[in-house]
């Protein structure tokens, strides 16, 4: 019996993939510029939102996330002596550079109207904002559980240290880096599939 051979995809499918790669590369620099300009504002939004989320889990409220400059911030424990209250410094901008990938991927999809692209990008950005707030929440908990030496050992057990440590590791690397792909696949997965299903009537693309 003959081995099944992969069927070559129709030409429009091949062109679609190549067009997407080209469009994404073209969109990369403009998207990066927009992200770079919005970063100082977004950093503030992120710090305030994460601090408020942290306060939901604290009584009394002991965490503050003051800015050091446009890109860096501190984790501050208000119940520590003032000279030692700034317990950790981190680069906030590093938490959300996946917006560049997200924007380029969503704007680069060929064959759909701009209105739909922007609408899908808006939904994806909203989900990403919530993810970033949650990531920063985990980051601060990770600092408390594992980075404060004896204080961490006294206040967090082995399970808690592993929970916050692994949670931060998974959120900060795989899920942060793959979030744009996950969201893109959520919206456009069918466009990658073989065209065994009815096609959408061709719409004006840009």
């Amino acid at each position: 019996m003959a081995q099944p051979k992969p069927a070559p995809p129709p030409p429009e499918r091949r062109n679609w993939g190549a067009l997407l790669v080209r469009n994404v590369l073209l969109a990369l620099v403009p998207v990066w510029l927009v992200w770079f300009l919005l970063t100082p504002v977004y950093n503030r939004v992120l710090l305030v939102s994460a601090r408020n989320l942290l306060h939901l889990t604290e009584s009394p409220n002991v965490t503050d996330l003051p800015r050091r400059d446009e890109h860096y911030a501190y984790v501050q424990r208000l119940d520590f002596p003032p000279a030692k209250s700034l317990v950790h410094s981190f680069r906030v901008t590093d938490l959300h550079f996946h917006f560049v990938l997200l924007g380029a991927l969503f704007l680069g999809v060929p064959g759909i109207p701009w209105r739909e692209r922007l609408s899908n990008l808006g939904v994806a950005c909203l989900i990403t904002v919530f993810f970033d707030i949650f990531l920063l929440f985990f980051y601060v908990k990770f600092v408390y559980a594992t980075q404060l030496g004896d204080w961490s050992m006294t206040h967090y057990g082995a399970f808690a240290r592993n929970f916050w440590g692994l949670g931060k590791h998974l959120l900060d690397l795989p899920f942060k880096l793959s979030l744009p792909l996950v969201l893109w696949a959520g919206f456009y997965f069918r466009r990658l599939m073989p065209s065994s299903e009815p096609r959408r009537s061709s719409s004006p693309a840009s």
Binding site: M1, A2, Q3, P4, P6, A7, P8, P9, E12, R13, N15, W16, G17, A18, L19, L20, V21, N23, V24, L28, W32, R91, T93, D94, F97, H98, L101, A104, L105, P110, G111, I112, L166, H169, L170, L173, P174, L177, S178, L181, V182, A185, G186, Y188, F189, R190, R191, L192, M193, P194, S195, S196, E197, P198, R199, R200, S202, P204, A205, S206
Partner: protein, 189 residues
């Protein structure tokens, strides 16, 4: 950009009365499989034994190759494990800088996508090589940035090059899934 270009299927063939999970079962299956494989892969490499016996030697090999390339382009570098240094600058290649993250994302996406195994293996082989080549360029470029433009190092390290390495994996996957990961053609016996 393309005008009035035909695109692959975008509407489900199932009826709108079907429940959400059934209408979108292929997307859901892909996303669940992808996240499980990705979480499993990253949990695996966070185990100390795996890190010490697989990831660290792999990272040291990347450092050696990067050091050799830097030597070829005239940089007087010395190597010490995963550290590349010269008189002006030193970098320690750690997890996050060895391309393993991009490789795992690519691997999880290829394995979760419905495709023949032959296509998957070909895609994995080629994709991993391309990702590692991009990562080598990144390490060399970052070292040179640290030597000649140290103020740009932080931004270049995470924002620019991490985006480029991950993007290369994502675009490779999309290109592979769109062009090569099609189902086998039925042939007569």
């Amino acid at each position: 950009m393309a005008r009035n270009r035909e695109t692959p299927a975008s509407k489900p063939s199932s009826s709108p009365e079907e429940p959400f999970w059934r209408r979108n079962r292929r997307e859901i299956t892909f996303l669940v499989l992808f996240l499980v494989l990705l979480g499993g892969g990253f949990t695996l490499i966070s185990v100390n034994w795996v890190n010490d016996h697989a990831i660290e030697p792999f990272t040291a090999a990347i450092a050696r190759v990067s050091g050799a390339i830097l030597g070829l382009i005239g940089q007087q570098v010395t190597m010490n494990g995963t550290i590349i240094s010269n008189a002006r600058f030193a970098v320690n290649i750690r997890n996050g800088c060895n391309g393993v993250e991009a490789m795992l994302i690519f691997l999880a996406a290829v394995l979760a996508f419905p495709a023949p195994w032959r296509s998957r293996l070909a895609g994995l082989g080629l994709g991993i090589v391309v990702i590692q080549v991009v990562n080598l360029i990144r390490v060399v470029a970052l070292f040179l940035t640290g030597v000649y433009y140290p103020k740009l190092f932080d931004t270049s390290h995470t924002v620019v090059w991490q985006t480029i390495v991950i993007l290369s994996g994502v675009l490779l996957w999309i290109y592979w899934a769109n062009r090569y990961a099609h189902p086998p053609r039925e042939t007569a016996a």
